[in-house]
């Protein structure tokens, strides 16, 4: 079970390797060729020293012998020694050429992989349900998208190729050794299953530790991210020391987990090296005894030993690779968690029904996990083209209603229905619904771009520059923010968001309103979006909106009676239930919650103080 899951993790990640498989194949080929040349270079030098310069008889055969004789054999080479030097250089050129191509293709391949992986992560995260974003920590996700991606890059850059190289060398060495002496070869390779078993055991043991360490890194990263975002709370409370203590705890846990991992890995590598050393020793001892007894010749013995050397290197490497793979396995798992989370999906045959119709909420009931019911059997209709206002206590479920309408959350089965023009919005395409519901959030987010780009973000990229700016300016003036924008040094080119000018809460809200206006949606939602705006601006925005909105259905959420009172219908929510509904006059006559809020806001004293 765990095995198949691990495979699934790798599969989720490694499919991004696919687009680069040609580069990989080439990288693999050239790196093996480079290996062959690396193996050959010392042989050429040795041959020159021992046979050409020294007295040893040559042991060449086939093509090499022909070549040797073609250049004049020993005598010919002795008089033209630079031939040998040239041979060394030629082999080196070929070796380095292969190495160069292999490095280039490897980087092409792995950068291509990382690019696709990063893009997939970003695009996928954007499309994950809002619920998912609520459940996961930003810092932790960022750690996965950066640090775990780096680990996977290492995996595909080095380990994948290395595994191939190791297998290649193993097969190469064993196939050379068997014909020479089967018995000794068996002894030599008898160690492989031992090391494989040991590595398997270790892999299991260390994976858990790697996961712990990686998770600790995620927690640490989230802690730093939160501290940075919350700096405006940390400072006024003078909580720097407390923050550092909490950070230290996580930082220490993370580093000590790794230190412990270092102990385990050290032990593992050490024991792996011990196995390899013992293997070489066994072959050396056995070979010596065999040779002394005359079972094999000295020459055979020496060649056999050199092949065993070739064999022991990959065995030794295998240990390192397996510990690295345990690490990348964890990273793959953490990334697969993101990639395998399900994106927001549309139903089959989702439609694009017209949205300039009546909106109806029928028996809508909704609750978040860990909370008592937010909405409790709410039923009402918003006639198309009307202005509809919602008033309600803090946490009474106003925003949730709107989030449901915009399909940020979906209503579960049997929890009622929201429909526009008698079509259930769950049967519509999600993007269609959102495009047609213009929504200004309570705490709007501006991107780190210019104000113009922020406002124009919903416009088609094909819109011409002049047209774009004109539209942006028009929207900004409806939202009463054009003066403020013009007063900035760079005007509409001012960069806002995280890395720019800090806008006041009210300016932010108004930029967000302007941005929403360009959506030109038949349904517009203002979720308490004038809360940070002063009364004067509030009323001029509403006036401008009224003149420019045309036939759109407008839904207003506010605590200010002055903002709501002109609406056609006002809904008063209390603890997730409809308390009252009607026009301003009807509600006043009702003498209910609305009336009492009205009274508070219309405070008698106020008028007196004004001398009226």
């Amino acid at each position: 079970m765990a095995q198949t899951k691990a495979k699934g993790n790798y599969r989720a990640i490694l499919k991004y390797v696919k687009g680069s498989w040609r580069f990989y194949a080439l990288a693999l080929l050239t790196s093996m060729m480079a290996n062959v040349f690396t193996f050959l270079r010392p042989q050429v030098i040795r041959f020159t020293v021992d046979t050409v310069i020294g007295e040893e008889p040559d042991k060449l055969s086939g093509f090499m012998l022909n070549l040797y004789q073609a250049v004049g054999g020993r005598e010919g080479l002795r008089s033209n020694l630079f031939f040998c030097a040239a041979a060394v250089v030629i082999v080196a050129v070929l070796e380095q050429l292969c190495s160069l191509v292999s490095r280039l293709t490897t980087s092409e391949a792995s950068e291509g992989f990382v690019l696709r992986l990063r893009n997939a992560l970003f695009s996928h995260i954007q499309k994950l349900p809002y619920q998912w974003h609520m459940e996961n920590q930003t810092g932790d996700i960022i750690q996965r998208c950066t640090s775990d991606v780096e680990t996977m890059r290492g995996f595909v850059t080095n380990q994948l190729l290395e595994v191939c190289r190791v297998v290649f060398l193993l097969v190469f060495a064993v196939s050379m050794m068997f014909p020479m002496n089967a018995m000794m070869t068996w002894v030599a390779i008898a160690f492989i299953p031992v090391i494989a078993l040991y590595s398997g055991y270790f892999h299991k043991k260390i994976s858990k530790k790697f996961r712990e360490a990686d998770e600790a890194e995620g927690v640490l990263s989230a802690a730093v991210q939160e501290n940075l975002t919350g700096v405006r709370v940390v400072r006024p409370f003078g909580r720097e020391k407390y923050e550092i203590e909490r950070f230290d705890e996580k930082n220490n846990l993370f580093s000590e987990l790794w230190v412990k991992l270092g102990y385990i890995m050290g032990a593992y590598w050490g024991v792996g090296d011990l196995f390899t050393g013992v293997q070489i020793l066994t072959v050396l001892a056995l070979g010596t005894v065999q040779t002394v007894r005359g079972a094999i010749t000295l020459g055979e013995f020496l060649v056999f030993l050199s092949y065993n050397q070739t064999l022991s290197w990959p065995i030794r490497r295998l240990g390192r690779i397996i510990s690295d793979m345990s690490k990348s396995g964890v990273s793959a798992e953490r990334l697969a968690y993101i990639l395998n989370s399900e994106e927001e999906k549309d139903k089959q045959n989702a439609v694009e029904a017209p949205m300039n119709r009546d909106i109806s909420f029928q028996n809508v009931t909704y609750r978040f996990e860990g909370e008592k019911s937010v909405l409790d059997n709410v039923t009402f209709t918003i006639p198309a083209g009307s202005t509809f206002a919602i008033l309600g206590g803090t946490g009474s479920g106003k925003s949730t209603l709107m989030h449901l309408l915009d399909r940020l959350y979906d209503l579960p089965e049997g929890c009622g229905k929201i429909s526009v023009g008698n079509v259930n919005i769950q049967d519509m395409k999600r993007s269609w619904v959102r495009q047609n519901v213009g929504m200004v959030l309570q705490e709007p987010f501006l991107f780190s771009r210019t104000i113009e780009e922020n406002i124009a973000s919903v416009l088609s990229v094909k819109t011409s520059t002049e047209e774009r700016l004109a539209q942006v300016k028009r929207a900004a003036s409806i939202a009463c923010v054009d003066d403020a924008i013009e007063s900035f040094q760079d005007g509409y080119g001012t960069i806002v968001g995280e890395r720019g000018v800090t806008l006041s809460g009210g300016q932010k809200q108004r930029v967000a309103i302007a941005r929403m206006l360009l959506q030109k949606a038949p349904i517009m939602v203002f979720d308490d979006s004038l809360s940070a705006v002063d009364a004067e601006t509030d009323s001029s925005i509403r006036k401008a909106l009224h003149e420019n909105l045309g036939g759109s259905t407008v839904i207003l959420i506010s605590h200010r009676i002055t903002t709501l009172m002109q609406a056609d219908t006002i809904l008063v929510l209390e603890d997730g239930k409809i308390a009252e509904m009607g026009s301003h006059d009807q509600l006043l006559a009702n003498n209910g919650i609305y009336k009492s809020i009205y009274d508070i806001q219309m405070n008698q004293e106020d008028r007196e103080a004004a001398g009226l």
Binding site: R41, T48, V49, R78, A85, V88, V91, A92, Q96, S99, R103, E111, N119, F122, Y130, M134, I142, S147, A222, V224, E226, G230, R232, R235, P236, F237, K241, I244, D248, N251, G262, M265, L284, V289, F301, E371, G393, T394, S396, D406, L441, F445, S448, S457, D490, R499, S504, G505, R515, S531, A532, V533, H559, T562, M565, L588, Q601, D606, R607, A609
Partner: protein
């Protein structure tokens, strides 16, 4: 004002930059020396292994006898065991160095970040900082603990081999030296470019981290606007740039390392030709050449490794530049050494020396402009706020209402002039002294991940559960709690995401109340709270603010009517001040603002009639 100012670096490989990391490695010098010692020891054993093989041939096989075979096997085994022990110890020590240095670097960065001013946070994206704290620091410690040590081994090996070669034949060894200038030229040429490439990579890397941060925190907004694909397009430009830069840098590396290896192969070829000639003319013994060549072959690999390490090293310099750039960023607001000596620093206050704070605040000839440029927003401003005064600040959005509060709380300091608290310039006291006495409630309150209880307790870490509940009750935050299934132990989500803005405002209000500060700042603190709850809070506030100096920033004039002093701000300047009555009599801007609001209310009355 425009885009983020990322420090620009253009030095080549610079030891001065590396020296900045020395203090971080110093505490681990024992481990570092241990690792280096182990590596050298390991190198010695490595040299002996091939000798063991020829020993076996010379002593057992050639004579055809096995006498002394057992001791031979035993000593070989001892060497293997020794090597095993070295690997075990070496990995432990290297990991200890890597992780502890990394830990210390992260800590230093984090601690320093706690002292940097708001002006830094206002202009630096969180993702950028996060990349420096987390990934840059890790790369530095990893490089030094594993890479630098490996490199020392390789260099030691090369030097050792070269000394041996010189002893065998000094002239031939001299020929080997001929490649040094070539290698140097290649190295200088490539390393400069590789360094540049790596800087670019790190720069784009932090942009990518920033983009992830923004993509995640702005996900809700992106969804409502249906601009996921557009965001993705922007992001993919970043990743494409990353790919281009990475491949380009990898290409430089791919050319550099083989060229170095090629140079060393030429040297070997040369030695072979020249040495062979010498042997054939009986100037040099065959054995000498054979040994010489062994060394010459042996150093090719380490030379190539050194080249590789060098590029890794160069790749690490941008990481160091970025981390030390952060560490060297001076906070705009610092306590003087005398103040720290008396009152303690921002982390550990010497509370025994702290004067109790009364809450008199005086702006004395204060002129101020924000550090990121622009005009003066205050000029020669004078204002006395006696302890216990409630000061309300009104004005249009973006008119600069927060400026005064920022100055009073010392989040920014006056460009000229002084702010006196209890008659003393606040720069003569520590920041922690002041901040420990401030309760700040923001319009967009930030809550930390954790429970409601933990969040309220942030105001006073020693508070009991009863005190927490009392504080919550005072500001009606208990109405929020009662809606949550687990009450005070409910998780609020990251940044308080699971609560509505109004609910967050209530919780953060309770947090400030629990802190029991002398100075209260309510910056639109109740803007998203419903009217009935707000009424309850307002009654509570008037009790709370008694005997405390407080600043109220609000739009709804009804909330500020009772303030002792009202400051009317327009275009960043204070244009009127006084109490409600006197301001209305003035018939100035306040009067018109008030009428504006009142007109609407009058309209309501009309509709009612």
């Amino acid at each position: 004002m425009a885009s983020i100012q990322e420090e620009e670096y253009n030095k080549s490989l610079d030891l001065k930059i590396w020296a900045k990391m020395v203090p971080f490695f110093k505490p681990y010098w024992k481990e570092l020396f241990g690792v280096i010692g182990l590596m050298l020891f390991s190198a010695v054993i490595d040299v002996f292994f091939p000798l063991m093989q020829s020993y076996a041939v010379d002593h057992f096989i050639v004579p055809g006898q096995l006498e002394g075979f057992s001791p031979f096997v035993a000593s070989y085994f001892a060497m293997v065991a020794g090597q095993t022990a070295i690997v075990i110890l070496f990995s432990r020590l290297s990991m200890v160095i890597e992780m502890r240095v990394g830990r210390d670097l992260k800590r230093a960065a984090f601690v320093h970040l706690q002292t940097l001013s708001f002006s830094y946070y206002n202009t630096t994206p969180v993702g950028y900082i996060l990349a420096r704290v987390m990934s840059d620091s890790g790369r530095i410690s990893g490089m030094v603990s594993w890479g630098l040590v490996d490199m020392m081994w390789a260099i030691a090996y090369i030097i050792g081999a070269f000394i041996s070669m010189s002893m065998l034949n000094i002239r031939l060894a001299g020929y080997v030296l001929l490649i040094v200038p070539f290698i140097s030229i290649l190295t200088v040429y490539f390393q400069k470019r590789i360094l540049q490439g790596n800087r670019e990579i790190r720069r784009v890397n932090s942009q990518i981290t920033g983009a992830y941060n923004e993509g995640i925190t702005g996900a809700k907004t992106s969804k409502t606007l249906v601009i996921e694909d557009k965001n993705f397009e922007d992001f993919s430009q970043l990743t494409s740039q990353m790919r281009r830069t990475s491949v380009h840098t990898a290409m430089l590396r791919a050319v550099y390392i083989p060229s170095i290896a090629f140079c060393s192969a030429i040297a070997v070829g040369f030695v072979l030709a020249r040495g062979g000639y010498l042997v054939m003319n009986q100037v040099m013994a065959f054995g000498t050449l054979s040994a010489f060549i062994s060394y010459a072959i042996g150093i090719v690999e380490p030379i190539q490794n050194v080249a590789g390490f060098l590029t890794d090293l160069v790749a690490t310099q941008p990481n160091i530049e970025r981390v030390s750039g952060l560490l060297e960023k001076t906070p705009d607001i610092v306590d003087s050494p005398e103040v720290i000596a008396k009152y303690g620093d921002s982390f550990e206050g010497k509370r025994e020396n702290w004067e109790p704070i009364q809450g008199d605040i005086e702006f004395k000839d204060v002129s101020f402009k924000y550090p990121d440029g622009g005009d003066y927003v205050l000029r020669h401003f004078n204002l006395k706020i006696p302890a216990g005064t409630t000061v309300a600040i009104v004005g249009e959005t973006g008119a600069g209402k927060s400026t005064l509060v920022n100055l009073a709380c010392r989040f920014f300091e006056p460009t000229e002039g002084q702010v006196l608290i209890d008659g003393v310039d606040y720069r003569e006291r520590s920041q922690l002294w002041l901040h420990s006495n401030i309760g700040y409630v923001l319009q967009n309150p930030h809550l930390f991940s954790g429970t409601v209880r933990e969040n309220i307790r942030y105001g006073n870490l020693e508070a009991t559960d009863e005190q927490i509940q009392e504080a919550a009750h005072k500001v009606s935050a208990d109405t929020v709690v009662s809606k949550l299934e687990k009450g005070y132990d409910s998780d609020v989500g990251e940044g308080g995401d699971r609560l509505s803005t109004g609910e967050k405002q209530l919780i953060s209000f309770a947090r400030a109340v629990l802190a029991d500060p002398r100075i209260f700042v309510l910056d639109e603190a109740t803007s998203s709270i419903d009217t009935q709850t707000e009424l309850l809070i307002q009654q509570a506030i008037s009790h709370l603010l008694e005997n405390r100096t407080s600043f109220l920033i609000a739009h709804r004039l009804s909330t500020i009517r009772q303030a002792d002093l009202i400051l009317v701000v327009r275009d960043g300047k204070i244009i009127e001040q006084g109490d409600h009555k006197s301001l209305l009599q003035k018939k100035g801007y306040y009067h018109s603002l008030y009428n504006q609001q009142f007109m609407e209310e009058a309209m309501m009355r009309k509709m009612q009639a």
